[in-house]
């Protein structure tokens, strides 16, 4: 079976299916490259949940906390994170996408489906036609399996590439969000007061804040483990 046509169809499908995420990735990578931004090797994406909570908390203490750049960046990170999670889900549901999306628009599959339908809708098939239909159904089964394997291989590779690139963009922007946030926190009188009242040791930093949280938290809870993992980023 010649799979060139199927491969071409999958590439065309992917171009449309991933159009949006692809343009976000391209734009994000260009932004990093053009501005020589840092691409950390530490996993800052892991901090997103913690950052969201602490940003809200400090914002409630000090309303002057967020400037327009910070708001833009926070919204950017949230959107990228949503897109990243969606892309991860897509990678887990390849078979469903094949059945629901790809098969409907594949010409290769459509030709055979149509032919089968024509046979099936006809009244009184002759014995010869019944044999032809059987051959066709067997071939369709084989074609479906080949199509799926071809689709899975190309689609997964494209999806994984975009997922990895998206992660690079998301991680870099989360790093900048984290840094901008803690620089602002260090300058905020309300946050300085909070650190004094809660007797948090050392300067105003994420590391000291998390260390303090761990000190007052119930050990071995899920949240405790999460904060312990977050702490690994700070050297």
């Amino acid at each position: 079976m010649d799979i060139t046509n199927i491969e071409d169809e999958v590439y065309d499908f992917d171009n449309i299916f991933f159009q949006k995420v692809s343009s976000v990735v391209e734009e994000g990578l260009d932004f990093i490259e053009n501005n020589h931004l840092i691409e950390p090797k530490e996993n800052y994406v892991m901090l997103i949940d913690y950052l969201g909570t602490v940003i809200n908390y400090f914002h409630n203490l000090d309303r002057s906390f967020m400037d327009s750049t910070f708001k833009k960046l926070q919204s950017d990170v949230n959107n990228l994170n949503g897109l990243y999670k969606k892309q991860k889900d897509i990678l887990q549901n390849v078979e469903e996408i094949f059945k629901k999306n790809f098969k409907k628009q594949s010409n290769v599959i459509r030709v055979y489906t149509q032919e089968i339908l024509e046979y099936k809708s006809a009244d009184n098939l002759s014995n010869e036609e019944k044999i032809e239909l059987k051959i066709l159904l067997d071939y369709y089964k084989e074609l479906d399996a080949v199509c799926f394997e071809t689709f899975k291989s190309i689609f997964k590779e494209d999806c994984k590439y975009l997922l990895d690139s998206l992660l690079v963009v998301l991680n870099s922007k989360t790093y900048y969000l984290h840094e901008m946030f803690w620089h602002k926190a260090a300058d905020s009188e309300a946050v300085q007061r909070l650190f004094r009242i809660q007797k948090i040791d050392g300067d105003i930093s994420s590391k000291n804040y998390i260390t303090h949280k761990l000190d007052v938290m119930l050990p071995y809870s899920k949240e405790y483990q999460y904060f312990k993992d977050c702490l690994r980023i700070y050297k």
Binding site: F31, P40, K41, M46, L73
Partner: protein, 172 residues
Amino acid sequence: MSENIDYSVEDIEKFLEITRLENDKPQSASLHKLLSVQNKIAIFRDIDPDELKAIIYDLKFVKYKFKDYIIKQGDISENIYFIIQGDCQVFSDDKLVATLVPGIIFGESAAIFKTKRNASVICASQDATLLSFCIDEKNVEFCAQALFTLYKNLASEINAKLESSNAAFIKK
């Protein structure tokens, strides 16, 4: 969605300021020391320094005195140790089983397999300097290559230890 975020020149200046601050930030003393001796430590061979920084945490250069416990049998901890200076002795159920010298790594098996310490390690010289660290195996998304190389190097170390104990056993 993200493509709608339009950063102005002023916004970008704030990004660049963060980059400048990061580049000017002094490296922690332990990290600086580690990177300067990276090539001398077999398990860190062939690892990109930026990735090495990202896959290890709780990095400390620790000094011990004679008879200080470094590891206690039955304890749970994920630290791996590398002897820089001084000697250490390994005791299993209070029986001396090995003497460790500079350049040797220990504690890796409990760290990798998340098991209790299977022996105690005590400082056997007047003093000893050890490099202690943990591996952040969760950072696989950003440092898969570095983690692969590190585990490969650790496997070589474990293999060398097994070969040497086999040789000692045959000699007996």
